[in-house]
Symmetry: C2
Subunit: 216 residues, 2 copies
DNA sequence: TAGATTGTTAATCGATTAACAATC
DNA sequence: TAGATTGTTAATCGATTAACAATC
């Protein structure tokens, strides 16, 4: 499950912190400031100062300057570029059930550089319908259509027991990256990236916190 | 951001693997099998054998037996209990925008032990409306209503710059755990758990994979 | 008994943090 | 210059993996 813990030398951990840096720095920038120190960022986000410097060094194009700190504007731009927010990628979504529809309904992905262009589902009732402005196609059209649209990202929101099968179709259709919401380890060729989204883990964390007294 | 990396002695990493164990084991169980070895689980999920044993030792009530392996049924039950899927917690959601509505529309949370009972938003247009069967209340009713309902989980789906303010209200209303979708470090009293959901990081990962050639 | 499989103790690896030198 | 702040090298810490003893 951890075959690939880094991407161009950047660790998952660093990557997970970047959206927090970005949000905080955007706030400071719109507050009219122009520079910021690693110490200030660390304090605001509850991180270690050195960790902040190391993270920023990995992604920023211009170095910070002693005594002044980092240029806010450049930093914000660097993080946005790094996170891929500046280029839009197209995706198709497979599995127009509850979760799939929830994702289709969320317009906010464009901010993150993602645009879902179509949905697929094997329910004949859904065939041809529009959900949140996106057409639902039958599953047998998946490979052909995805190929023709040259879509590079596939989103899997089908039940766990169908996930691998859908994954195989996506691979055949030529996608290069898969965002997988099923709690299943997907087998893919090495060149294809699978990113698992694990809301179940977050919820488990909350639930355990509430029931802590039972667990000792 | 990492103040609390473990919960009753279990690491975040282990916790993130549990939903994958569960899904795989459920599949084997419904396939009619009764026992399973750590090696088989490790192979199926691409993990290290010892890691699997250590994870299972942390959460299971009965030990595995040499030569036989683990009892599937007991293991599934133990993981479900551990993840809190067996007891339903009630939650309120604040911020009925795109993301908030997407979450409201998702009925699948009940499987994970979560039941969203109401939504709050400061848009007067939404006041009193039903979204996916849940009533949207104005923000000024948040504290009183949450308290009276004795809701223990708050879900934050407002823009980043409002997140802390909503968080403070939730704390005042007596929630014990917060599921935060805004990329903001929330300041809370020590007894309250904040769980950040970071879809932006997943998307960044995918986006970077697609654009890898640009990054060297 | 022999061998498969578990659980544990020790070694390794990577990420975080501390110490410190460089520099504006 | 002095001091704030950066970037880097070394130490620490925790998670993963390897080696191995225990046991059904």
């Amino acid at each position: 499950m951890n075959e690939r813990n880094d991407l161009n030398g950047i660790s998952q951990q660093t990557l997970r912190r970047l959206p927090f840096y970005l949000s905080y720095l955007q706030g400071r920038l719109s507050g009219g400031e122009t520079t910021i120190s690693a110490a200030a960022i660390a304090r605001a986000l509850g991180l270690n100062e050195v960790q902040v410097r190391k993270d920023l060094a990995l992604i920023s194009t211009s170095a910070g300057r002693p005594k002044t700190g980092y240029q806010l504007e450049g930093l914000v731009s660097d993080i946005e570029s790094f996170l891929g927010y500046k280029n839009i990628d197209e995706a198709i979504l497979v599995g127009a059930g509850q979760l799939g529809r929830a994702l289709l309904s969320y317009q906010g992905f464009s901010k993150y550089g993602l645009n879902i262009v179509a949905a697929f589902d094997n329910d004949p009732q859904l065939e041809g319908r529009e959900l949140h402005g996106k057409t639902v196609f039958p599953l047998y059209k998946l490979i052909d259509l995805t190929r023709r649209l040259k879509v590079r990202i596939g989103i899997i929101t089908v039940p766990a027991d169908q996930a691998q099968q859908i994954c195989d179709m996506l691979v055949e259709a030529g996608v290069l990256a898969i965002w997988n919401f099923a709690p299943v380890k997907l087998i893919v060729p090495g060149s294809i990236m699978v990113q698992n989204e694990n809301m179940a883990a977050s919820l488990a964390m909350l639930s355990r916190h509430l029931n802590e007294r039972f667990t000792e």
